[in-house]
């Protein structure tokens, strides 16, 4: 691998990211999958980087999953998106920051569509006004939350307590990145580093001291595919895609998978367990799985946040082997306790996959 070659390519894909004053749009599914991730993002931005971020409780799904599953029409999606923009406008913000990659894709596509077809934008303005009485401005800047973390990666690494370095051997941890498909595939210039060799996550991991591994199926979709996951009988599609990735990355012995999409970390995490139960196959070291973190969880962990405060107990593949390698101290007894110290129940220990 010629790293200089990638750096030259990255010069062609630098995007403008606003410095401050962000209107944050949460994902509709991440809060169930990995509930600490968005909280950690807000904490890092507000408390560490002292940025102004507005987290609006009135905002809804962007309809991305329903849209991609053919449940709602594009017109509906655009009107819902217009409402999100109206909420942003009403609060006096111009910089829109979605947490979800599918939302980011939806917003990017709609903004592009309106730019080329102002008559569609006019129609949506009319529909939104008729339905809600709201008006809106199109965001001046649209950036995914991983873009913001990437922008401030050096500041975050500067404040960090840990590095992605094996504390026992001193060797960099081996990280594979997985970028959500809708981040840059439709519009490579909207992604940091482009669509084929994005550096939004690899750049972050390298800033934390990791060695990023490029493996043959890196670019492949995790298999979420919306309707393929929504219908139980179709889930074989989804798991087969993830399996192909695991088979491809396993020879590199990764210590960690990092992601920037709501669906990908959930599937890359859970499918490892399901594959172990269906076929007895595991992909990590010593019969364990490969831990999967979102970029916010990773940043929070590096900052020294308590792993159980940022929700790492919600991961199917236990993160403890990773925490041990990094040197993060944690209380095993607190893993399944809430903020008040009450136990909320422990999961059943899986049969096939080793948890520590």
């Amino acid at each position: 691998m010629i790293s200089e070659g990638k750096k030259t390519l990255w010069n062609d894909y630098q995007k403008e990211i606003a410095d401050d004053n962000y209107f944050y749009a949460r994902s509709c599914i991440r809060q169930n999958f990995f509930p600490g991730a968005e909280k950690t993002f807000l904490k890092i931005l507000k408390e560490e980087l002292k940025k102004d971020v507005y987290d609006d409780p009135r905002h809804t799904t962007c309809t991305g999953i329903a849209y991609h599953s053919d449940v709602v029409s594009l017109e509906t999606t655009m009107t819902v998106v217009a409402r999100q923009f109206a909420l942003m406008t009403e609060r006096g913000y111009r910089n829109f920051v979605p947490s979800c990659i599918t939302s980011f894709g939806i917003y990017t596509e709609i903004m592009e569509l309106w730019e080329h077809h102002p008559e569609i934008e006019d129609k949506i303005r009319h529909l939104l006004f008729k339905a809600t009485g709201r008006e809106f401005k199109v965001p001046a800047n649209l950036a995914h939350s991983s873009d913001i973390i990437y922008k401030y990666r050096n500041e975050i690494a500067g404040m960090s307590k840990f590095k992605l370095i094996n504390k026992n051997t001193g060797a960099p941890l081996r990280v594979v990145e997985h970028i959500g498909c809708h981040y840059a595939r439709m519009f490579p210039h909207k992604g940091i580093g482009g669509a084929e060799y994005p550096c939004v996550l690899s750049g972050l991991a390298e800033t934390f001291g990791a060695e990023v591994i490029d493996y043959p199926e890196r670019r492949a979709c995790c298999g979420f595919g919306f309707r393929q996951y929504v219908i139980q009988a179709n889930r074989g599609y989804s798991i087969s895609c993830s399996k192909r990735k695991f088979e491809s990355m396993a020879p590199y012995k990764p210590d960690l998978i990092i992601t920037n999409c709501p669906g990908c970390p959930y599937f890359l995490d859970s499918w490892q367990y399901v594959i172990s139960e269906m076929e007895g196959k595991t992909y990590g070291q010593k019969g364990q799985g490969i831990p999967v973190l979102t970029f916010e969880e990773l940043s929070g962990l590096m900052m020294g946040y308590n792993p159980w405060d940022i929700g790492l107990q919600m991961h199917q593949i236990p993160v403890e082997p990773l925490l041990d390698k990094i040197g993060v101290e944690y209380q095993q007894d607190d893993k399944y306790c809430d903020a008040q110290g009450r136990t909320f129940g422990k999961p059943v220990i899986p049969e096939m996959i080793k948890i520590c």
Binding site: M1, G5, T8, L9, G194, E196, D214, Y215, E217, R219
Partner: protein
């Protein structure tokens, strides 16, 4: 009829320029060749053997360069700045304020090779073992042994056809028409040098259109057991040992295919040069939708530009083999000669 002696400037000292210079000189004209590089020869200088009959490119080039004598004046390291005309006189400005005047200008600037790094998914400049057809040819020319980045003899080499050709997204819809035969020629050369190396071609259509090209195809299959897989390379990635994993659709098998290769050779398409655009914008020479020069008439007059006094020859009007480039250069010379004869300022000595 004794020849009139007129001044012609030829822009480009590649095969087309050299051949036209010789023809025009034989027709009695004085010719100045302006060549941007240090040496004449153009792309032919980096060519080992010519398809389809394995003639030495160097031998051909030497014969062509030997003809530069008498009224052929060669100026190398000449960077064209501007072309202007006043009445029937053309002034070609180059370098720092130097100028040559002529009664006709032949543009023979050839082509550029597609910038392979634009096909990001192929990993040129990023993966260790991806090279271009030009780099492979240069290895042959310089008698370098073909080895991987780690110095090993490759167990398998994969050739990728149509890199920068038939690819609208990469900016070029046209077929470069010469890459198929170049690839097959190069593949055979590898097999001759490294008989134990497996060679595969990933192609969409094999356009072996020239005389005896099909014979090369048969030789590749029959003698060298080179494999042809019909499917454009979708993407490549690097394996842990820095070999490559190629993904394509094996369209004739009806399934996707994954193949490991130790090296990948990208068969680069012919694309217009920067000079094409400059001539188009600054001097009104017509450019076709493919970016190459469009002559006056696509059948009856393929060497005159629509701008009077400007002529075009060789691969600057679209990809051509050496054989056709030289024929085109001779054809352009005749057109120029006719033009100079007709020119009212002609001082014909009977």
């Amino acid at each position: 009829m004794r020849a009139l002696k007129k001044e012609v400037v030829i822009i480009g000292g590649g095969p087309a320029g050299l051949e036209a210079a010789d023809s025009l000189n034989k027709l009695g004209h004085a010719v100045t060749i302006l060549e941007k590089e240090e040496r004449p020869g153009g792309k032919l200088s980096n060519w080992h053997k010519l398809f389809p009959d394995n003639v030495s490119a160097d031998g051909i080039l030497k014969q062509m360069i030997q003809k530069i004598s008498g009224d052929i004046h060669l100026i190398t390291n000449a960077k064209i700045r501007k072309i202007s005309h006043e009445g029937k006189k053309y002034s070609v400005w180059f370098n720092e304020g130097q100028c040559i005047q002529a009664e006709a200008v032949l543009v023979a600037v050839g082509f550029d090779l597609f910038n392979a790094s634009l096909k990001e998914e192929y990993g040129y400049g990023i993966y260790d073992n991806v090279i271009t057809s030009a780099e492979l040819e240069s290895m042959f020319v310089n008698q370098k042994s073909l080895v991987t980045a780690t110095g090993k003899t490759p167990g398998r080499v994969a050739f990728i056809h149509c890199v920068g050709s038939r690819d609208e997204k990469a900016g070029f819809r046209h077929c470069s028409s010469m890459c198929c035969v170049t690839g097959v020629k190069q593949a055979i050369e590898i097999k001759k040098r490294l008989p134990g190396t497996d060679v595969m071609m990933f192609y969409m259509d094999l356009r072996m259109h020239g005389r005896f090209y099909e014979d090369l195809y048969l030789e590749a299959q029959e003698k060298h057991h080179i494999q042809f897989i019909r499917g454009r390379l979708s993407e490549s990635s690097e394996n842990p040992d820095s070999s490559l994993l190629l993904k394509a659709d094996d369209t004739l098998a009806g399934s996707p295919i994954k193949v490991r290769a130790d090296m990948m050779v990208l068969l680069l398409g012919f694309v217009p040069t920067d000079f094409h655009k400059k001539m188009g914008e600054e001097f009104g020479v017509e450019i076709g939708s493919d970016g190459f020069f469009s002559p006056c008439d696509s059948h009856l007059d393929t060497n005159s530009a629509k701008t009077t006094g400007i002529f075009v020859a060789g691969a600057c009007t679209g990809a051509k083999s050496l054989e056709y480039t030289l024929a085109d250069a001779r054809s352009a010379s005749l057109k120029i000669h006719e033009f100079l004869l007709r020119s009212p300022s002609s001082n014909i000595l009977n």
